[in-house]
C-alpha cells in the first residue's frame, strides 16, 4: 500500500494524474471521432456512389487494420506530414508534435469509424414515414434533422455509442507506446523502478475497470433520459 502513497514516497499522485490523462485523451478522441462521423456518415448515406465509396473505404480500412498500426503511422508519420505542410509555407525547422495530440488524433480516427457505423445504423433504422411526413408538412431540411431525426436517432445510438466509448477508453492504453504518460505508461514506469510489475499492472487493470464501471453508470442514466416516452 505504501507504493500508492501520495507525494515523493509513492506512486499515488502520479497514477492519479495518469488516470486524468487517460480520461482526457479518451474524451478528446471520442469528440474527434464524432467530427469524423459527422463527415463520413452523410457520405455513407449519400445517394452518390462515389461518395459512398469514400465513406466505406474509411470505415473498412480503419476497422480492418490493428489500432497499434494506426498509432505507429501517426507516431512516426505525424511530424513528417506536418513538416511537409509547413515546408510549403517556407518553414523548414524540425517540428515535433505533442504526444497528446498525435495520440488522441489516432484514437479519434479509429473511434470515428465505429461512430460512423453507429450513426449510419441509427439513421437507417428511423422509419421512412418520419422523413416523408415532415417533408409533407413543409418543414425545412435542417429543422427536420435537428428536431425530428436527431432526437430519435440519439435514442437508438446511445447504447451502441456506449460500446464505442468503451472501445475508445480501452484503446487509449495503446498510446502508451508513444510515451504519453497515461495509466499504462505510468504503470510501466512505476513497475520498472520498483520491480513490482504484478502490483502496478493489476492496479492499472483496477483503474480501467473503475473507469468503465463509472462511465457505464453515467451512460445508463443518459439512456433512461433519452428513452422517455418509449
Amino acid at each position: 500500500m505504501e507504493l500508492l502513497a501520495f507525494g515523493k514516497t509513492g506512486w499515488g499522485d502520479e497514477l492519479f494524474y495518469a488516470t486524468l490523462m487517460t480520461i482526457a485523451v479518451s474524451i478528446t478522441a471520442m469528440l474527434i471521432g464524432f467530427l469524423f462521423a459527422l463527415i463520413f456518415t452523410p457520405l455513407k448515406l449519400s445517394k452518390y456512389k462515389s461518395l459512398n465509396v469514400i465513406g466505406n473505404f474509411y470505415t473498412t480500412v480503419i476497422r480492418g487494420v490493428p489500432e497499434l498500426l494506426v498509432i505507429y503511422l501517426f507516431f512516426f508519420g505525424g511530424s513528417g506530414a506536418i513538416m511537409f505542410v509547413a515546408s510549403m509555407f517556407g518553414y523548414y525547422e524540425y517540428i515535433e508534435i505533442n504526444a497528446f495530440i498525435t495520440g488522441s488524433f489516432a484514437i479519434g480516427i479509429i473511434s470515428g469509424a465505429y461512430s460512423t457505423e453507429v450513426f449510419r445504423g441509427a439513421i437507417q433504422s428511423i422509419d421512412k414515414g418520419q422523413f416523408e411526413a415532415s417533408k409533407v408538412l413543409g418543414i425545412k431540411k435542417h429543422i427536420q434533422f435537428y428536431k425530428i431525426i436527431l432526437p430519435q436517432m440519439l435514442r437508438l445510438a446511445i447504447p451502441n455509442l456506449s460500446n464505442v466509448w468503451q472501445i475508445t477508453l480501452k484503446d487509449t492504453s495503446l498510446i502508451s507506446v508513444t510515451g504519453l504518460v497515461e495509466i499504462m505508461r505510468q504503470s510501466y514506469i512505476a513497475a520498472g523502478s520498483t520491480r513490482d510489475p504484478l502490483f502496478f499492472y493489476s492496479f492499472a487493470a483496477v483503474l480501467y475497470l473503475l473507469l468503465t464501471f463509472l462511465s457505464m453508470k453515467l451512460i445508463n442514466r443518459l439512456e433512461i433520459k433519452y428513452s422517455r416516452g418509449f
Binding site: 473498412t60 480500412v61 476497422r63 480492418g64 487494420v65 490493428p66 489500432e67 497499434l68 498500426l69 505507429y72 503511422l73 507516431f75 512516426f76 508519420g77 513528417g80 468503451q166 480501452k170 484503446d171 492504453s173 495503446l174 502508451s176 507506446v177 499504462m184 504503470s187 510501466y188 513497475a191 520491480r195 513490482d196 510489475p197 504484478l198 499492472y201 493489476s202 492499472a204 487493470a205 480501467y208 475497470l209 468503465t212 464501471f213
Partner: protein, 223 residues
C-alpha cells in the same frame, strides 16, 4: 512514395504474417473452449459458478488487452511459486504468454456471444426434444449446441476479426508478428506511410477472407 521499399518489405511482412496467423489460430482454439465453459457456467443455476463466470467476463471485457498481456508476461514472473513450478516453462516464453492472454480475452467475449445464442434458442425446441424422450445430455449436444453455433456465427465472425487485430499487441512483448515487423521497418527507414500501406493491406486481406468465410458458413448452415 518509395515503391522499392514497399516491394522489398513485402516478403518480410508476409513471413511475419505466419506468426500472426499462428497466434490467432491458437488463441481462438483455446478461447473457444474457455468461452464454451464459461457460457455453460453463466447459465447454470449454481449461484457461485454463475457469479464467477460473470466476474470473469466483466474483468476481461472491462480492461484493455494490453494490461492483460503485461500482467501475464511481466507480472507472473514475479511470483516465486510460479517461477519454481512447471508453469515457468510456459510462462517464460513471450509467445505463450501472448497466447494465454489472447485466449483468456477472446474466451470472455466468446462466452458472452455463446450465452446470448443459447438464450435465444426457442424453448419449444428443447421441450420437443424432451417430449420425444431424448436425454437432456443429447438435447444439449445435438440440439442446443448446433443451433447456438448457427446463431452466434455473425457475432463470432466479428470476434475473430477483433482478435486478429488484437494479435498486433504481441509486438509489445517482443514478438515479431506482422505489426512488430512493420514497426521495425518503420523505425529503421522512417517511411511510415509505405509500410502502413503494405502491412495494412495484408491485414485487410485477412479480414476480407475471414468475413467471407463466415458469410459462407452462415449461408451453409441457414435454416
Amino acid at each position: 512514395m518509395d515503391l522499392e521499399l514497399m516491394i522489398n518489405s513485402f516478403p518480410k511482412l508476409l513471413n511475419a504474417t505466419v506468426v500472426t496467423l499462428k497466434l490467432l489460430s491458437l488463441s481462438l482454439f483455446f478461447g473457444l473452449f474457455i468461452g464454451l465453459l464459461f457460457a455453460v457456467m453463466r447459465m447454470s443455476t449454481n449461484l457461485i459458478l454463475n457469479k464467477f463466470a460473470y466476474g470473469y467476463s466483466y474483468l476481461f471485457r472491462g480492461t484493455p488487452l494490453l494490461v492483460q498481456i503485461f500482467i501475464i508476461y511481466f507480472g507472473f514472473g514475479q511470483i516465486e511459486f510460479i517461477r519454481e513450478s512447471f508453469l515457468w516453462i510456459i510462462l517464460k516464453e513471450p509467445y505463450w504468454c501472448a497466447i494465454i492472454a489472447f485466449a483468456l480475452n477472446t474466451g470472455a467475449y466468446t462466452s458472452e456471444i455463446l450465452r446470448s445464442a443459447f438464450e435465444t434458442i426457442k424453448k419449444g425446441y428443447i421441450e420437443a426434444g424432451k417430449s420425444l424422450g431424448i436425454s437432456s445430455k443429447i438435447i444439449f449436444y445435438k440440439i442446443q449446441i448446433p443451433i447456438a453455433i448457427r446463431q452466434s456465427l455473425p457475432a463470432y465472425g466479428n470476434e475473430i476479426i477483433l482478435m486478429l487485430k488484437g494479435t498486433s499487441l504481441a509486438s509489445t512483448v517482443t514478438l515479431m508478428d506482422l505489426t512488430g515487423v512493420a514497426k521495425y521497418i518503420i523505425s529503421t527507414t522512417f517511411k511510415p506511410i509505405e509500410v502502413f500501406i503494405v502491412a495494412g493491406s495484408i491485414y485487410l486481406f485477412m479480414t476480407f477472407l475471414i468475413h467471407n468465410f463466415i458469410k459462407f458458413l452462415e449461408r451453409k448452415y441457414n435454416y
